[in-house]
Amino acid sequence: MSQTTEKNKNMEWPLWEVFIRSKAGLDHKHVGSLHAADAQMAIENARDVYTRRNEGISIWVVESKNIHASNPEDAASLFDPANDKIYRHPTFYNLPDALKHM
């Protein structure tokens, strides 16, 4: 056994992130990850692992190493620019109740 495990150790299938569109008109949403040798196998495996109950009509797979993420420790400064701009929200504006269709 040790021989095959050693051999496979260097050959672990790459990790893929799976995104599913649950129905027409909606965004693809991240659902999890899986291992597969290539993109085609990743899509087929994603079908078996993540859509056994009609959860999707379309699948995207992206090799995990190609995902770049923001650093949670930088979140405060990264998202800071939006913090003091409440005027970007419609509720910022005081308008008379009599005003309709707006």
Partner: protein, 314 residues
């Protein structure tokens, strides 16, 4: 930030019921505890396919066979969700599988009992999956994000597992005298192992306090066990079967059923590897891994070949 303030920040997050995500700072022990718990959980799903796989070819009807196949396939899927969640903590799939195959990692002891009759498929779905659901529903709110999200998916799918098992028990209970006897025999054999699934009692469970503080666990072993017994007694009445515990009786004061002493010697014996099927289960996993090695290798070779062809065509 100093280590202290990292830890303070981490604990503050937990106290606000915020989830911890893979890139967030976490104490090393939290990471280790999660890897152990999630991988044990994953191994249980994978090994759990074996006792039921035993009956797929001998299911009494095409309907039962299709259902059992779907259930076992779900368990494979659940194992994969959980391995992926564990991998976000920095452990590789190969390491996890090596730990299973070398016998270093544990899985739920319940799967070291044999499935002797068709009625065992009923008892497993009803009791074993029932106990698993009792454990898993609170884990949907566990503090580690990827684990919680995997559990939400698992719980959604698990409900049919318990219902199909109960349906088998119901059919047998309403059948011939021999069929009813089979159902009772399965209940007799699976009852105690099922209530042991919740793990050692609280005063004997060294990890519980820390896991509760970290909000990995939301209820103690004994709380979940009691809850399971309370609901299952009522379900047994509908089947017209008898739970094999002469000390089982309603306690008005506690508002719960009292139950007999659990044979913890048996529990620890099976955990240590001496259950009826420990050896057989491990060997089945090792064999599957060894005999599947060429398929995994061939898939890599094929993927590489296609990559090279695409590169030279470009």
């Amino acid at each position: 930030m100093t280590v202290h303030s990292f830890e303070q920040h981490f604990q503050d997050k937990l106290d606000r019921e915020q989830q911890i995500e893979p890139q967030d700072w976490m104490p090393e022990e939290y990471r280790k505890t999660l890897i152990r718990q999630i991988s044990q959980h994953a191994h249980s799903e994978i090994v759990g396919m074996l006792p039921e796989g035993n009956w797929i070819t001998r299911a009494p009807s095409l309907r039962r066979k299709a259902v059992l196949l779907a259930k076992v396939q779900d368990e494979g899927g659940h194992g994969l969700y959980l391995y992926s969640a564990a991998e976000t903590l920095g452990v590789s799939r190969d390491e996890l599988l090596d730990q299973l195959h070398s016998g270093k990692a544990k899985y739920s002891s319940i799967f070291n009992y044999p499935t002797l009759t068709w009625a065992d498929m009923g008892a497993i779905g009803w009791l074993v999956d029932g106990a698993a659901i009792m454990n898993q529903v609170p884990l949907c709110r566990t503090s580690y994000g990827p684990y919680a999200r995997a559990m939400v998916r698992v719980c959604k799918e698990e409900s049919f597992h318990q219902r199909q098992g109960y349906e088998i028990m119901l059919t047998l209970s309403n059948g011939t005298a021999i069929q009813k006897k089979m159902a009772q025999d399965a209940l007799n054999r699976w009852w105690w192992p099922s209530i042991m699934m919740f793990g050692p009692s609280d005063d004997n469970s060294p990890h519980t306090a820390q896991s509760m503080a970290w909000r990995i666990k939301r209820f103690t072993n004994d709380e979940l066990r009691q809850k399971f017994i309370d609901v299952t007694v009522e379900q047994t009445k509908i089947l017209g079967l008898t739970i094999p515990d002469k000390d089982l009786k309603w306690n008005e004061e506690r508002g719960h059923f009292d139950f007999g002493a659990i044979n913890w010697d048996e529990f620890w014996n099976v955990v240590k590897g001496n259950g009826p099927c420990n050896k057989e289960r491990l060997e089945a996993r090792q064999k599957a891994s060894e005999e599947g090695a060429w398929v995994r290798d061939a898939a890599v070779a094929y993927a590489n070949k296609r990559k090279q062809r695409a590169a030279s065509a470009a």
